[in-house]
Structure formats: C-alpha cells, structure tokens
Symmetry: C2
Subunit: 338 residues, 2 copies
C-alpha cells in the first residue's frame, strides 16, 4: 500500500542481508563461520597459495543504471574480479561483497543484482563468506573482494615474458565496447540484429576466462598473463613493461569480433584502434615461448575459448602495431584518473 | 602553476598507486606477488584458520570531510575492520584497499588519508597486498578488506554465550558518540577542554581492541564476543540473539566515559541511553562463564584495556536494562537502512 515499488530504504540491513543469504547455495565444508558474525572464518586449502583481488563498480563511472539491467550489474561486478583471478591462473574460492546502496534503489532491482552475482558465483563454485551493506549518499557502488588458490610456482604474473615469446589473446576483442556504444545510442535494433545483440550481451554479461587461466597455469603454458579489463593495448603494454620487453602486434591477426568490426567501420572509426584501446573485454593476453607450443596445445584442447597468436615479444623498447600501411607505436589506451 | 592545490584528478591511477606503495613497509616473506599485478598472491599461514571481513566508509553517511581530517578518515576505515578481527580473536595479517575518489579530492588529502591508514596498519603488522582505485561520481568511499588468522577452535563467535555467563565490556563507552556531537556543534572548546578533546580523539582515532581480542581467544576466556561498532545495546542484543539467551545489564555498572557523561547530561540527555545506543566505540562486549574467571584474569593482566562486568546472560527472552528506577527493555539502537 505504499503507492510505489518497495525500495531498499524500506528494509533494515538485517532484512537485506537475509535476502542475500536466501540465495546462497549450501555452505562448503571449509566454511567455519559464514555471514552473520563479525567476520567470516574459513579453513585454508592445503598446499596452495592464495590469490586476492578487489574491484569496484561505481554507478556513473563504470555503468549506467538506465542501460544496464540490475542482474548484469551484479554479474559484471563479480566477472571483473574473476577475470583478475583468471589472469593469475587461480581457481576461485570465496568472495566478500560490499554494497553502498542509494535508498531509492528498488528492492526488486536489489534482488536481481544479487541474483546476477550469485548465479555467476555458483557457476564458478565461489562462495560468499561475508560482506557489508551500507547506504550510499550518492551512486550505487559494488565492491567485490575475491580469493582464489593456485599451486606454488604456478601463479601467472605479468613479468615472465622474454624476447621471442609469442603473444596470444583468448576469444575475440572489441565486442563489449561496441555493445556499450550500441546501448548508449539505443541502436541495438538497426543493422544486423543478431550480431549486435551478441556485442551487447558481451558487454552486459562478460564471461571471465577462468578455465583458460587455470589450464595455462597448470600446463605451465604461459610465461606472462594479464586480463583485458582496460583493453588489449593496455594488457600488451602491461606485460611488456612488467617483463622488461617490447612487443610487436600484427593488426591483421587480431580476432576482432565481426559485429564490432562492422559497427566501428559503419561509424567511420578505425576498427583496429577502437578494438584494442577500448576496455571491458575480459579476455586474457599472454606470452609463451615457441618451445612451449605443446603445452599450449594441451591447454587449448580443454579450454573454453579459441586462442589467437597476435604478435611477438621483442627486445624493445616499445610496443609496435604492424599494419599494412606501416608500423606505428601502439596507442596506450592511457587512462587518466579524471 | 595550477593556481590551485593539485587534486587526485591531476594524476594517473598509476601515479596514485605509486604514492600508496611508497608508504608501505618492506614486504613480508609470505607475500609472493604484491601490488602491481592482476591480483596479490600470498603464502597462507600454517595451521591457522583465516578470518575475513570487509567494511566501507562512505562520505556523507559515515563521515563528513569537513569534520574529519583526512588522516582520521584513513585511520577509521582500517580501525572498523580491525575491530571486526578483534571481535573474532584474530591476529591481523593483510588488507586490500578499494578507494572511490571524487576527482576534486586534493592530492595532499589523499596522501594524508593513505598515511593515516598506513600508520595503523604498521602498528598492527598488517600488510597491504592489493587494492583498487577508481573515480567516484559522488562521495568519497573507502572499502577495506582485512584477513587475519586464528588457531583452530579459538575463533570468538557471537553464539557461545549461556545463561549465567557474565557480560563484560572493554574500555569505556559513549566517548566517540559524544565526540562526534562536539565536532558537529563545533563546541570542543567549551566546558572542560581536555575531557572534550579526549572524546573527539576517541571518535577520530578509535583504537581497535586487537590485543584484548587475541588474549581472550588464546586464553579461551570468552564464550561469545562482538564489537561495539553499532553501540553496546546492539552488541548485547547481537550476542543474546546469536546465542539464544537473554541478558540483564546493570546501568550503574556501565563504564561511561566521564567526558561523555558530562556532555550528555549538560545537554539534558539520558547519558546511559545515549552511551549504549550510539555507535563508533569499537570496544568489545563478551560473555564468560564465572568458572573461567581465572582465564579472564590472565587475559586481563596482559591486555591493553580495563574490563568491566556490566551484567549477566539470562534464560531470556529479551534484554533487560536494570536501573534504579526499575527494569526496562533495553533499546535496540535499531538501525533502519534509510
């Protein structure tokens, strides 16, 4: 009888926490104390290193609630973190969720957001062991901390690439950025509908390459790895800088998603530059010496994404983009804080 | 030559991260990969359980930048988390820091905030192993995830209290809430200056009771424990509900900070009700059976805070406040989300 949809401001913190708990799968046996005490308590996994990451999604910076359905907000908030674990070759284990909620967020949007996050967590056997709920005086913010595990000496860092290593990328690039542009322009229905829908879906529901990261780590098939959260150009620069090498990327080899290429070209943009400098792909870029190609084939055979060789590590310095028109320095996709 | 103080918006994310890294102490030997990769990698501590907590401070909800110096914002953001570890009897080990920064935050305020957090971390031998920096489209938000360790079967939960157990609180209560009121009214200089300063200081720089939590856990001196982040009334209700007991609190026994009592009474407020229902104290409330008094003395001898017996657990139901005027139901300090 409120005359409006119930919002999170109509509920107590305890009621909202209960709403989250109701969506959780049964507790794993390593969970000693779950949600509802001052902190979560867990039994560590034996003979494993722990891999920890935190990432935040802020409304108005990382997403627009008018363009992103609430379940996609939840999905993306966890996916960006799982992508970090994937880039380290880690198996997801647990998460903590910190939410700052504008009181006018509807309860059904809150439930859908938790549900989107929860569904991805279940698929990756990740258990929520704690969190925090607070009111926000401004935008909706979702902060997720994830902890994964990997075997000793199997963590994939950014710093092991050597000159002569080949550079690879999983899946395809550019789709998410094109999808976001389509959403912003409300042009998802023009042109080739199914190709465009694929791009929008890649933006809204990215699939972190957890399985491929694990396979690369276990097969010791990669000398360095980084995820593409800020775009391929940023990842190649990141690996090159951390490893102290250069790189040469072959523009013609880049696996640009067909719908994205079409979108960028129709708009008169350079599809290569757009696809490598825009972010949100959540694929993996990695380096591997040619003599490890057998290991790489083994990883690839059981993986969930195609691998494309896109270039090579050089003595450097610098990252070069090789195009038919000639070599150029690869743009950085340089992010200023503002 | 900007004509104004530099703000975080004038720097790149990498530059701000470097500013944080410059303040970190040398890496502990268990840190395999620190800040600067997709995720941190650590060697778990042998034969220990892990205790995890996350807590956020949101400008406009948990603090006002005009009243709280930036180093106090950083201190408080970590202190609220350390208090959760203390309440579980855990030893702090590592933290991840997620910051959402309004671009107009001055660089010097950013540095002071990081420094306030860093100084408290060093005192508790807590190492920062990762984090996230993003722009905020609204308020400043600081989200801290902490991980601590405790021995098996030594985690202090909320749920072990039994009828007949005595209830204790560490330190004194009411000071932080009174200090915040003084700050809001800019009345720190009236009345007894030093008593008021002590209250303001307790609000700005709370000392989490990490040492006392550890001693209670190691001596197995507490049957249940919870911190006072939302006030003593909330903590007693929390222990009672989780343990399935009632409680009776003796109002005359409450260790209300002298400056806080004076402040509340001068303003015509009921000092007892204010001191138990307002939050921000970061003391510990805990239960202990009378037969464990020897263990409790052992813990108390080496602790950093006085212990006061404030009541007893009953068969319940309900939490009663015993006053000279008669018994009343103890107010809840009930927090609605809005």
């Amino acid at each position: 009888l409120l005359g409006r949809a119930p919002t999170v401001g109509d509920f107590t913190e305890a009621e909202l926490v209960a709403g989250i708990q109701a969506q959780l799968p049964p507790a794993p046996d390593w969970l000693v104390v779950g949600i509802g005490d001052d902190a979560g308590v867990v039994e560590p996994e034996r003979n494993r290193l722990e891999v920890l990451s935190v990432d935040a999604l802020v409304e108005g910076v990382h997403f627009d609630r008018r363009l992103t359905p609430p379940d996609a907000v939840g999905h993306r908030a966890l996916a960006v973190n799982l992508s970090d674990l994937a880039a380290m070759g880690a198996r997801p284990r647990l998460a903590l969720l910190s939410l700052a909620l504008p009181p006018d967020l509807t309860r059904s949007d809150f439930d859908a957001m938790v549900s989107g996050l929860g569904a991805l967590a279940v698929r990756h056997r990740l258990h929520l062991v704690g969190g925090n709920l607070t009111r926000s005086s401004g935008p909706l913010m979702i902060d997720v901390t994830v902890v994964g595990t990997c075997k000793r000496r199997q963590a994939l860092t950014r710093r092991g690439a050597r000159p002569g290593d080949a550079l690879y990328v999983t899946g395809s690039i550019g789709a998410a950025a094109a999808g976001l542009q389509m959403l912003k322009l409300a042009e998802t229905n023009r042109g080739d509908g199914s190709r465009r829908e694929a791009c929008v879906r890649r933006y809204l529901y990215p699939e972190p390459r957890v399985r491929m990261g694990l396979l690369l780590a276990r097969n010791r098939a990669a000398s360095a790895c980084m995820d593409l959260s800020d775009g391929l150009a940023d990842a190649v620069h990141g690996i090159a800088e951390a490893s102290g090498v250069g790189a040469a990327i072959d523009a013609d080899a880049l696996p640009i998603e067909a719908g994205a290429r079409e979108w960028f070209e129709t708009r008169g943009d350079d599809a290569v530059i757009e696809a490598i400098t825009l972010g949100d792909d959540y694929e993996l870029a990695f380096a591997a010496p040619p003599r490890w190609s057998g290991r790489l084939r083994a990883a690839s055979r059981h993986g969930d994404a195609p691998l494309t060789k896109i270039g090579v590590c050089t003595k450097g310095p610098g990252v070069v983009l090789r195009r038919a028109a000639g070599d150029t320095l690869m743009p950085r996709g340089y992010k200023h804080f503002r």
